[in-house]
């Protein structure tokens, strides 16, 4: 029995050192941090959508199968095989990043900082005419087309009844999750076709591509700009992560039926986050996810990647921006033509059925504002700090470090009591001459309310006025009813 894989899995990625005009990239939190996750490249051009699905299937390839609802019957040229490297490349380019700065010793003349950077590279068919007829009569399923594409056997089905489709899949050796049928029904009635994939064992070479199946890329034509996630939830328990790498000609892509929320960015965090950046970011994400009600899509990166555009493509770069070869592979051939703009958006969604009842729909916006999820550490100055300016610097440094701890607590919910000595002694290279003042080291975790203070106060003020006004109106209406 083939096991239907309805959501696809992960890719590893390699980090690389890059130097930007401000700050050094030192660590990133790539897509491989999440267990139950898939990666998708989504390219929108007019009413054409190209979807590339990562394939991280581990296990016996003869058990691999995939069903994707598609709006129309795909022609052979609408189905391609992509290289796995395109995912790791896009992940490396757009992953949330940690950058580091160095304070200059105010007591010493300006000199070039020697960077000794510790790098944290964290991972990132063939049937006869009679069979066709039989299927049509028996299951009310029509085989609209079938193709052999590299190691894959692909069938495009249309169906009249979900029961028939389910039975066809079972009789043809696919195991279907119990809950799938109720999801298949609405797709069938919406006129969707089914893109059904299994591996052609004669063509499959287990030694090629690191033993992984290669990503499939399809192009569909439809006004619907969406990703069907409902089928993938039929056989999955618990949360799933999906990273969407979207390309458009206009600007940012955002989700149109769920909120698209930016991850907090440009936050200064303590230097000890550096070796733990991956843990830090997964905690920040978990925290944001729950704070936003578990039903938001998160923006992790948005940038103009037009090759002919001369501006910086990232600040700092975690990986190289996509270029000619990657654009071709990602299904963005127009990016290489002159005169077109190519805009890249990375979204991260963690979904469960109760919070995401509907498939993900997207919209292209003309929003060209650049964005990256970026966290900053600043190393203190070292050397003799006994001059007057040096003493003032140490005071400022203490305040800054308190703020860094507070920001760490708010972002990741880490218990900062553990790091109580960070403010005074956190750096052995700073000679702090003042007595260690324990009182100011008290930084307690939590502190969610510390952000957005004034608007919130104003909000409660307005809400109060609104209630008062409404109450006054009820009172006066009641009054007029009694006496008129």
């Amino acid at each position: 029995m083939k096991k239907i894989v309805l959501s696809l899995m992960a890719v590893c990625s390699m980090g690389q050192v890059a130097l930007a005009f401000c700050g050094f990239y030192v660590a990133k939190a790539g897509a491989d941090l999440y267990n139950n996750k898939s990666e998708v490249i989504l390219v929108r051009d007019g009413n054409k959508t190209t979807i590339t699905m990562s394939n991280d299937f581990k296990g016996d390839v003869k058990d691999f199968a995939m069903v994707v609802p598609v709006p129309n019957v795909l022609a052979r040229e609408d189905i391609r095989i992509a290289d796995r490297s395109v995912f790791s490349m896009l992940d490396a380019y757009s992953a949330p990043r940690l950058v580091e700065y160095y304070d200059q010793n105010p007591c010493e003349p300006v000199y070039e900082v020697e960077e000794d950077m510790m790098l944290e590279n964290i991972a990132v068919a063939e049937s006869t005419m009679s069979r066709v007829l039989r299927d049509k009569v028996k299951y009310r399923v029509t085989i609209e087309a079938q193709y052999k594409v590299a190691e894959y056997d692909i069938v495009l089905l249309s169906a009249k009844k979900s029961g028939g489709l389910k039975q066809w899949l079972i009789d043809n050796g696919y195991s279907i999750p119990a809950k799938a049928e109720q999801v298949l029904e609405p797709y069938i009635k919406s006129g969707l076709k089914f893109f059904v994939v299994k591996v052609d064992l004669n063509k499959y070479n287990p030694t090629a591509n690191g033993g992984f199946l290669r990503p499939l890329q399809i192009t569909v034509k439809s006004d619907k700009f969406m990703l069907p996630i409902r089928l993938g939830m039929a056989n999955s328990k618990g949360e799933q992560d999906m990273i969407v790498y979207a390309f458009s000609k206009t600007g940012r892509v955002e989700c149109s039926n769920y909120r698209t929320v930016q991850m907090p960015t440009n936050k200064k965090v303590p230097t000890f986050v550096k070796p733990n950046f991956a843990n830090f970011y997964t905690d920040v994400f978990r925290n944001q996810h729950s704070q936003q009600g578990r039903n938001a899509v998160f923006l992790e990166y948005a940038w103009n990647v037009t090759p002919t555009w001369s501006g910086v493509k990232c600040d700092p770069c975690v990986g190289n921006p996509p270029y000619a070869r990657e654009f071709l592979m990602a299904g963005v051939p127009w990016a290489n033509a002159n005169g077109t703009t190519t805009y890249f958006t990375r979204m991260h969604v963690r979904y469960t059925l109760d919070k995401f009842p509907e498939d993900l729909f997207f919209i292209e916006t003309p929003n060209k504002e650049h964005y990256q999820a970026r966290y900053v550490i600043t190393h203190p100055a070292y050397g003799d700090l006994s001059c007057a300016e040096g003493k003032r610097y140490v005071q400022r440094l203490k305040l800054r470090r308190q703020q860094e701890l507070r920001s760490l607590a708010t972002l990741s919910q880490w218990d900062t009591m553990e790091f109580y000595d960070y403010v005074a002694n956190g750096t052995d290279k700073v000679r702090i001459e003042e007595e260690s003042d324990q009182n100011e080291l008290f930084v307690v975790g939590g502190g969610n309310g510390s952000e957005g203070g004034p608007p919130r106060a104003l909000f409660f003020g307005f809400a109060g006025l609104l209630i008062l006004y409404a109450a006054r109106r009820v009172y006066s209406l009641a009054d007029s009813f009694t006496f008129s």
Partner: protein, 283 residues
């Protein structure tokens, strides 16, 4: 003397536009403090300032009835809540166009387009820098709108809410029939689609505008019925994600036709709460 001032204030406070301003203002502040719209604050300020300035300028050379600032503020808040722009200039342009159309495009002394609606459309058509984010509300705002609708109902004494209810009920029933009864999705899918903030804002704060909807009650019901069917078809069969805003602007020029077919008195803001007839001021 003091009694007169107090009585004037109390009459003034009956103007339902105060409630709308307070409600929309609260809603906007909720977005800024809880939905992460704080980066847009400068655009909100620019939008509100420009609607007020434009309205003042036009009023100064026309009616000189400065209480119309309230309407302008409602338009401005509507723009803040629905329109997204890349730059402040685009926001100012949208605000200026929104208010100008109120004074410039009129039939029988009644402006045709809903100002916020036309401001949004104009900004999207004229610049490549304006858009609508239908998902920016999430689906947790349903409760807000129940509160809003209840409040409006109270203040307008159901008056102009016939448009809202006809519209949302027709659309809701059609959507339920398609998504749940026909396609077989769970009711949660329907509920998720119905609790879209843009849809609800459109329903309770855009098509309730008495100045740009037909004067006659039956005409209004028919008008919102057609709009609801249009939205259902556009969103379910043509997958237009911002269909409501476009349909309203296409549909608005037909309002005078409805007024011709169903004759009724034109709406006046100052004449609304008629509990005490001696205080009604018209013009």
């Amino acid at each position: 003397m003091i009694q007169k001032v107090l009585s004037d204030m109390s009459n003034e406070a009956r103007d339902p536009r105060y409630f709308q301003i307070l409600f929309l203002g609260t809603f906007l502040l909720y977005g800024v403090s809880y939905l992460g719209w704080q980066n847009e604050t400068s655009k909100y300020i620019a939008l509100l300032a420009s609607v007020v300035v434009t309205q003042l300028a036009f009023t100064h050379y026309t009616t000189r009835r400065y209480s119309s600032i309230k309407s302008a503020l409602i338009t401005g808040l509507g723009l803040c809540l629905l329109l997204r722009t890349g730059s402040i200039h685009t926001a100012i342009l949208a605000a200026a166009i929104a208010i100008s159309t109120k004074f410039l495009i009129k039939v029988k002394n009644k402006h045709i387009f809903n100002p916020a609606n036309v401001g949004i459309i104009a900004a999207m058509l004229l610049t490549n820098d304006a858009w609508i984010s239908p998902g920016q509300w999430g689906s947790s705002v349903l409760l807000w709108f129940f509160v809003g609708a209840a409040g409006l109902m109270m203040i307008l004494k159901v008056g102009r809410l016939d448009t809202s209810f006809t519209f949302i009920l027709t659309f809701g029933v059609l959507l339920f029939a398609r998504q749940v009864l026909y396609l077989g999705w769970e009711p949660s899918v329907w509920l998720h689609q119905m609790s879209n903030g843009t849809l609800l804002l459109f329903t309770f704060f855009m098509i309730t505008d008495p100045m740009t909807t037909p004067n006659h009650k039956y005409a209004r019901v028919l008008w919102s019925l057609v709009l609801a069917v249009g939205l259902f078809v556009a969103s379910n069969f043509f997958y237009m994600q911002t269909a409501a805003i476009w349909l309203l602007v296409i549909f608005s020029p037909f309002t005078p036709l409805f007024d011709k077919l169903f004759v009724a008195r034109k709406f006046e803001w100052e004449g609304i709460p008629l509990e005490r007839n001696d205080t009604v001021i018209i013009k």
